[in-house]
Amino acid sequence: MGKGSVVPPLIHFAQLEKVLNHARANSLWPLTFGLACCAIEMMAAAGPKFDLDRFGAGAFRASPRQADVMIVAGTVSHKMAETVKRLYLQMPAPKWVIAMGNCAISGGPFNLDVNYSVVEGVEQIVPVDVYVPGCPPRPEALLEALLQLEAQICGTRRFPEPPPAMPKVA
């Protein structure tokens, strides 16, 4: 279950739960929810080159009622904080949160002395399950976060570790 899922499952059988967890892990529908720069990389991750849909996570739902994972992609301002919280509460349990990008993790480059508008870390608002640092992270990093979330839910990692960065062959 995601850190913030307060509602216990309706039925609880160990074996069934295991099967259901595998189903959940392989069908993480994200919420269509972009805040700033990272949202573009989130779209790129759903795009042709990286294709989130391969892992069953390409079904972006605009309605929070039908989403499983909220990708907080971008800077959360104080004005937006209330909405982020509300969207999270609107999602049905079990639900998960990925904090994508430095702004979502800690306010990022806007975590400054003069800061009067940016929330320093979305974890103050919603419980975060996976953190993806970067400004913005590459789409692979988001995929990796998704695979880690999958591993968290199932208990085992089904996919290989991220391959090392290959130089471009001319």
Binding site: N26, D51, D53, G56, A62, Q66, D68
Partner: protein, 318 residues
Amino acid sequence: MNEISILRSLLTIVGVSVAIGLNAVFVVWLERKVAGHMQYRLGPTEVGPKGLLQTVADGLKLVSKQIIFPSAADKPIFALAPIICLVPVFVAILPVPFSDTLQGHELDIGLLLVIALGLLNTLGILMAGWGSDNKYALLGASRAIAQICAYKIPLLLCILPVIMLSGSFSLRGIVNAQDPVWYAVYQPVAFFIYIIAITMETNRSPFDFAEAESELVAGFHTEYSGMAFSLFFLAEYSYMFLASAIASILFLGGWHGPFLPGVVWMLLKIYFFLCLMMWFRWTFPRVRVDQMLNFGWKILLPFSLLNFLITAGVMAIL
């Protein structure tokens, strides 16, 4: 009435449920694959071989998710709506013959039953839109009501020539009447308009106003989560299946075809229509509501009426 007929009914119910479920699982997978490949992507690949189990995982997940009732929702209506949406398909699929022998229940007026029950879908959408106390959902529902007026009349006017040609309301009778030549050959205009009309009827893009994502978030099912949402999902794909089956019976000669067994031909024809609808969905932008109404009343209606009159005239002369 005897034991066998009861057994038959039970078998039919089980068979129809399994068929609808399996079909939805497969069609959703197929749709995601088709969409992927039309967009330089792959679609689901990682869950099961070629991602075939993707929909199963989605289904299990949706079933095990919390169902949220909005506090201001009209609870009985909210809860009933997805069921109202889905159940008529089960009934409507009974008189559909999938082959010479495979048919739930032969009915003289099978076609009429299908048309009548096709209307109840809109009722479900209306209930969902009203019951969830959400403005987007309500807008979606009112769009669905407006839509029904635009497509239903051309749809019926396209079916009428087929009924006139075959002289039967029975789906089996219609299939048998087009033994050498399909009605799609006699009635190309009706066939064409029928395809457009069923795209409208099943709320598919480019006519998916009731759930227009970029406008109404998720339209009439904005507030639905988990199982209730999956029922809407199932209903949509079942309606597509039903509409395609009727289309292939009316215009493409049902299970008739050389070499292969009847069921295979029937399924091939059904999936032809399903793929066509997917192809439309992943190519075209959405039409605006008022444009769709104009389109229905100003283009589809005159043409289908004209087609109907010409058919009647020719039949009267011959």
